[in-house]
Amino acid sequence: MKSLTLDHTSFWYPATASPALRDVSLDVAQGEIVALVGALGAGASTLLLVAADLAPRVIGGRLAGAVARRDRSGIVLPTPWTQTSGMAFTVWDEVAFGPANLGWPTHEIARQVDRALERLELVPLASRDPVTLSGGELQRVIIAAILAMDPGLVLFDEPAAELDGEGARTLWRLIRLLAKDGKAVLLATSALDALPDVADRVVWLENGAVRAVGTPDLLADVVVCDAGLGTSVATVWRAGGLPEPYPLTVADAVQRWR
């Protein structure tokens, strides 16, 4: 079942002549993980704002085409420090902020918050003041905060940006779990090397339009590598002048090498 459908969607930011999204058609099914890749400014963040019903409703601008949503959405923005409530003295309260705003009964709030804290391995930090957290810890708190609101469609904008190696691995594992739980996941990321193990589908955005869609194998495609969007292994294979098809991961490369 499709959680999100964009049908020939275009979007213009307020007072801007050229569209940030051009004629984008895309859908995300429940249980599916779709990754958006592209250069900075290609439109991935804008697409996520449209999917979250924040554009044009909250930020203004003009939308053409149709957007259909089946589930409530939650979005994790790339700047966790702006997404904090600013008035929680503990991580627990911060994560509970969203569910409380939704008017849920206290036992349900507690259940969702505890579950989210566990999933993001934040239980040891539950009584810490969010102001004292590092960038990576804060990003995990915000992810927990959004998940605690139990959205059916989860949108991530560069969720691993501030995370260290272990933190990123935990995140990708969590995203796979979310999809297994039946949630639809749409994420924009420049962590291309993680995508073969995470994404079901990859969408290449260029200048606001969909340039290509495919499985993660897309990240080993010649044209994609030329655009600087191939995985590290595919890119270096190509740079070495070795023949196609380029391997996606180290494991693929070892296979090809034999």
């Binding site: 250069a39 900075l40 400014g41 790339p78 420090w81 590092s134 960038g135 990576g136 810890e137 560069e158 940006a161 501030e162 995370l163 260290d164 190696g165 272990e166 933190g167 990123a168 691995r169 420049s190 090397d193 600087g228 969007l229 995985t231 590290s232 292994v233 890119t235 270096v236 294979w237 740079a239 070495g240 002048g241 070795l242 991961t249 180290v250 490369a253 070892v254 090498w257």
Partner: protein
């Protein structure tokens, strides 16, 4: 005759009140050396960098920047020798143009005006920001504001650059720009101490690695040796960058870790296989 190192830590320990952050850390960095500072979140990396910049004084031991003991200096003095860029550096921008902001540092040091211009131009060129020099910083996307902040540190023309996560928020193309700029400065004798969790970037730009684990210096060695060894990275909470992992998995001669070198070795070995 030994040349005095650009940065030296001698048995440095530091605690935030009752919470220990660093314990008996010692190392030295020479001119032109490019050093990565890695470790888990909370291992003490940002604390170390604050001690180097003179924002905190060590509880035990000493931090020497050249022949200056940081205990006798204030941060604005150390700015003559150290160019730092902390996290959220884009929040420090305030001038009406990128050029004015970049030149703020050298001007604050009292450098003569013509020299200020030269340093500013050099920094902007190194990061390919000259075309944005006349823009208002807040008219630029966040990634470019970050580069503007980095240019501000470069414009100080310090003997040591201390950077905290300089590539977060940058795409591959911009990360390559940062790599180029840092390599150029290092070739001119500037030492680098870079906190980064991006080991791919570290493998491309840096040569030596210091690993902090719960406040202690767990490793101090050549980056190329550590970065291809998953069994050693794992317990430190680090993930091997794919290119280095590839080099190790295929057992390429010399075990290179930089993209261009790995590509060259791949090509050479592949040609060797084809030859009768």
């Amino acid at each position: 005759m030994a040349v005095s190192p650009v940065l030296r830590l001698d048995g440095v320990s530091f605690s935030y009140g009752a919470v220990p952050a660093l314990a008996a850390v010692s190392f030295a960095i020479a001119a032109g050396e490019r050093v990565a500072l890695v470790g888990r979140n909370g291992a003490g990396k940002s604390t170390l960098v604050r001690l180097v910049a003179g924002l905190e004084r060590p509880d035990e031991g000493a931090v020497w920047v050249g022949d200056w003991d940081t205990r006798d200096c204030v941060p604005e003095q150390l700015a003559r020798r150290i160019g730092s860029m902390f996290q959220h550096a884009d929040q420090q921008l305030f001038a009406s143009t990128v050029r004015d902001d970049v030149s703020f540092g050298p001007r604050a040091l009292g450098v003569e005006e013509r020299e200020v211009e030269r340093r500013t131009d050099h920094a902007l060129e190194d990061l390919d920001l000259t075309s944005h020099a006349a823009h208002h910083p807040y008219d630029l996307p966040p990634a470019f504001r970050k580069l503007a902040a980095l240019a501000g540190a470069l414009a100080l023309e310090p003997t040591l650059l201390v950077l905290d996560e300089p590539t977060v928020g940058l795409d591959r193309a911009l990360r390559a720009r940062v790599t180029r700029a840092l390599l150029a400065r290092s070739a001119a004798g500037v030492a680098l101490l870079v906190i980064t969790h991006d080991l791919t970037f570290a493998a491309e730009s840096l040569q030596r690695v210091l690993v902090l684990d719960r406040g202690r210096l767990a490793c101090d060695e050549r980056l190329a040796g550590l970065v291809g060894d998953a069994s050693r990275l794992e317990p430190l909470g680090l993930v091997p960058p794919p290119v280095a992992a590839l080099s190790a998995a295929l057992d390429l001669p010399g075990r290179p870790v930089r993209g261009a070198e790995v590509a060259r070795e791949l090509a050479r070995v592949a040609r060797g296989r084809l030859a009768p």
